[in-house]
Symmetry: C2
Subunit: 138 residues, 2 copies
Amino acid sequence: MPQRGRYQTRQQEAVEALFCAAPHRCLTVEEAHRALEGGGMEVGRTTVYRAITRLYEAGRLRRYAPQESGEAARYQYNPCRESHLHIRCTRCGAMEHLHCGEVEAFARHLGHDHGFTLDEAQTVLYGLCDACRQQSVK
Amino acid sequence: MPQRGRYQTRQQEAVEALFCAAPHRCLTVEEAHRALEGGGMEVGRTTVYRAITRLYEAGRLRRYAPQESGEAARYQYNPCRESHLHIRCTRCGAMEHLHCGEVEAFARHLGHDHGFTLDEAQTVLYGLCDACRQQSVK
DNA sequence: TTGCGTGCAAAGGTTTTGCATGGCA
DNA sequence: TGCCATGCAAAACCTTTGCACGCAA
């Protein structure tokens, strides 16, 4: 679909290129804004908000709601159509993908036994990563 | 630990009693504030914030980060030490508990194969509940 | 030329903080 | 009496909106 009535601007391209260049990174709007400034791109904060929102609504970005109050939402490039769960360490903030058969099996169980259709792309599992768990045990 | 230097006030008791009286409900600070007003309790909004924050930090409440930007965080009474996952419908906002053996099995898998210690109390699975899924199929 | 995109400023909402007052122990 | 809690107002924070201008098509 050619998105009738949409203009291609240097700002929109810059925002998409920024996320595309580091598909593993989860950026806030503010971080994206600063990254563009650092790259010599002058883009208004409002425009970054709007560009990210548009990319999110088009399915090009994933959105992770903030965990603590006062934090900002994080966005990440959505390289593939296939969605997968993410796990996030509540201590160091690291976020990683999770693709394995057990996730699929668990999602099927949710559908069959609980009538719940899991949206993997929007869900983040919170907990402790290995390194932080070992530190906290010390 | 007897919480040295802590006073017991009618406001704090009222906030805790409110959540305790409906352990299944997830309330925002604003909703809690209005509920107290409706019950004839005059409690300042700031005090509700502070009481909820204190209860949360003491482990008496669970906190669910807002899903959409602009929404408020939700809190729920934490009746038992045992924690369980929650599922939330992204369409109607319904939130339900999830306790079953599959969750435990999945959590063990995360620990063994991914080195990730799942924090069930903080994690919310997003997706569609049965009713909303059927509506969206229509 | 048309109309969407931009960006500044201002508003919107939630949550926190400053500070004088009130109340528990 | 000492110290914490309260609550109003104001601030901080992220995010959205209004509006005049700029720019792609």
